[in-house]
């Protein structure tokens, strides 16, 4: 029995469908990410769980109890907002204490809990400071402490890291994950940042236009995207349409000039995606796709290459591991393994 269950959750604004028939079962202690581009319905979903938005149809159950009739202030969920939403007229400690005050917790116990929460996020020394005098990262931590201190049944994070700069964001990702592991709170994160979702979650829910495209753990979602959309949104992807060869070459897939042996795997039908880091530069061969290096960009630990071929542009990522990467304008040959082709529209999955 799932801890938090969303069943056929739907939200329409007039003719506009924000979320359509969303089903999701979240286990206790799980870290789930709702990932998708803006307007995909992920924030609406979070707001329905929080009780700020009423679903058009469908139900939300928490620990076996229906939440439909429970108002937002009785759900006992912790929420961290994108802009933190700290109370500007209260100090960090007063902000964190607010939820406990609402529970009418005695003063002494409250002070202890507030101190613990601020310590958890490493801000015990700034307890008496007002939000306006804190950095974005510090405000972020106060918001997290404020949401966690009430020991919520579920922690909802609404793009909590998107207002931080890249370096701080990475630090906070690690910290968020370790805090979540420590307290073990069931967590739902809304984000449009695929690396954030990959780094933090136990499972990722990829959403597009109000529908769930795929629910999977980060590795499987990346390696075996269920649709072209997931493939393109989670990381970079090359899309090909292979043709099954017949006659003497049966059991091989043709993509442009290349004829790739399937090694016993069925030839995928429809389109496939191939991750750029799975593609190698090789000697000319029947199974390699010829092309010309159009551009290459050095990115420190890897090279990002754009190769022009007869089936369109192909992205290739090569580790900066000492093997020289062909110069721009050079003819190159690309090859990849049969099992690195992931069918995304129909047909079998490798």
């Amino acid at each position: 029995m799932a801890y938090l269950a969303l069943k056929g959750l739907t939200k329409r604004y007039g003719d506009l469908v924000a979320v359509e028939g969303l089903d999701l079962a979240v286990e206790r202690g799980e870290f789930i990410s709702l990932l998708g581009p803006s307007g995909c319905g992920k924030t609406t979903t979070l707001h329905m769980i929080a009780g700020f938005v009423e679903p058009t149809s469908g139900s939300i159950e928490l620990d076996g109890q229906a939440l439909d009739k429970v108002p937002a202030n009785k759900r006992g969920l912790g929420i961290v907002f994108q802009n933190y939403a700290l109370f500007p007229h209260m100090t960090a400690a007063e902000n964190v204490a607010f939820g406990l005050e609402m529970q009418k917790m005695p003063r002494r116990e409250r002070d202890t809990r507030v101190h613990e929460a601020l310590q958890l996020v490493g801000l015990a020394h700034l307890a008496d400071r007002h939000p306006a005098r804190m950095s974005g990262g510090q405000q972020q931590r106060v918001a997290l402490a404020r949401a966690l201190v009430i020991r919520p049944s579920v922690l909802l994070l609404d793009e909590p890291l998107s207002n931080l700069d890249a370096k701080l964001r990475e630090e906070m990702q690690l910290e968020l994950r370790s805090i979540q592991r420590t307290v073990g709170t069931t967590t739902i994160l809304v984000t449009h940042d695929q690396s954030e979702a990959l780094a933090l979650s136990d499972r990722i829910v990829v959403m597009n236009q109000g529908r769930v495209e795929q629910v999977a753990d980060p590795f499987s979602a990346y390696e075996g995207p269920a649709s072209g959309f997931v493939g393109g949104f989670l990381g970079k992807a090359n899309v090909f349409t292979p043709q099954a060869e017949s006659g003497e070459a049966a059991g091989r897939a043709r993509i442009g000039e290349a004829s790739i042996p399937m090694d016993g795997l069925p030839v995928p039908r429809g389109t496939v995606i191939v991750r750029p880091e799975k593609i190698l530069f090789s000697e000319p061969a029947a199974c390699a796709l010829p092309g010309r290096m159009k551009a290459r960009v050095f990115q420190g630990n890897h090279w990002l290459c754009q190769v022009e071929t007869s089936v369109g542009e192909v992205l290739v990522i090569r580790q900066n591991d000492g093997v020289p990467v062909p110069d721009e304008g050079q003819p190159v040959h690309l090859r990849w393994r049969a099992r690195d082709m992931c069918p995304v529209d129909s047909g079998t999955r490798p």
Binding site: A50, G51, F52, A72, N73, K74, R75, G76, L77, G78, I79, F81, Q82, N83, A85, L86, F87, P88, H89, M90, T91, F98, G99, M102, Q103, H130, A132, R133, R146, A147, I150
Partner: protein, 288 residues
């Protein structure tokens, strides 16, 4: 044109207007308040504190000042309650309705105060609509006359001044992060607690500036107290007017006006201090 001169050049027209039409006349009034007045001889240029002594030692003037500030305080409190609630409701409306209702709120400002007050006078009399309505509903057994009463003055002044409170609080509400309300709800606060603990403290600057405007304008209002209050319930402005234009005792009128200015400034500055200290975090937000 250079950077140091530009601010002065840009504000020069306003400064000239202020100097010629506010500072100079105010200073002249201040001077006149020390002159002597003889009933048969007229105004004598002199320097004496006789006018101020006359006011301070006459219980009649205490009553006038007490009425002025009492009415101003009542108008401020009523405007604060009505205006803040109105602004909050306005801020929650969809954009289309917001525009319409903002016009409705500000509409009264487009009509002359005198005309609006005369309208109230029609409603307030013992045969007016309010009196008839109360009797028809059985809420009053005898005709109710709000003309020449403090209640009447308070109602009419509130109607005139409440838009200033609405505008001021509304501007403050626009700057609130709407998520703070959702955050408070998610932490278990009731709708009323959200208002009291989260919204109101954040709009304190708007409430304060609105209250200052309303109090200052109510304390110095002339047309409404003159028409609704009449000559029996004088406030400082109507008393000063009568000294200037009926008795022709300009020095006494000037002294009344100067004391009103002084008292109003004192009240506002101390209220300002008190509230800024209480809600320092909100007021200092801009200056990190």
């Amino acid at each position: 044109m250079n950077a140091r001169l530009n601010p002065w050049l840009l504000s020069a027209p306003a400064l000239v207007v202020y100097a010629t039409f506010l500072v100079v006349p105010l200073f002249l009034v201040f001077l006149i308040s020390f002159f002597n007045f003889e009933f048969y001889g007229g105004i004598e240029q002199a320097f004496s504190l006789a006018n101020y002594r006359d006011i301070v030692t006459d219980s009649y003037y205490y009553e006038v000042y007490a009425r002025t500030f009492g009415v101003a305080a009542a108008v401020t409190v009523v405007s604060l309650l009505l205006g803040t609630a109105e602004a909050y409701v306005l801020s929650r409306m969809s954009n289309r309705w917001k525009g319409i209702f903002l016009m409705v709120v500000l509409g009264p400002l487009l009509i002359s105060v005198v005309v609006r007050t005369l309208g109230w006078a029609l409603l307030f009399g013992s045969t007016g609509l309010i009196s008839q309505g109360l009797m028809a509903l059985g809420l009053a057994s005898a005709p109710v006359n709000l003309m020449y009463s403090n209640t009447g003055v308070i109602i009419a002044l509130t109607h005139v001044l409440v838009p200033f409170m609405v505008i001021s609080v509304w501007a403050s509400l626009q700057r609130i992060n709407p998520s703070t309300e959702a955050a408070a709800l998610s932490l278990g606060a009731s709708q009323f607690t959200v208002l009291r603990r989260v919204i109101v403290p954040q709009i304190m600057p708007g409430i304060l500036s609105g209250s200052i405007m309303v109090f200052a304008m109510a304390a110095s209002a002339f047309a409404t107290p003159a028409i609704i209050g009449g000559r029996r319930l004088k406030n400082v402005a109507t008393a000063a007017y009568d000294e200037f234009l009926n008795t022709l005792n300009w020095p006494l009128g000037a002294a009344l006006a100067m004391l009103l200015l002084l008292a109003t400034v004192l009240v506002l500055v101390s209220a300002n201090r008190m509230i800024e200290r209480r809600y320092g975090a909100i007021f200092n937000q801009g200056q990190r």
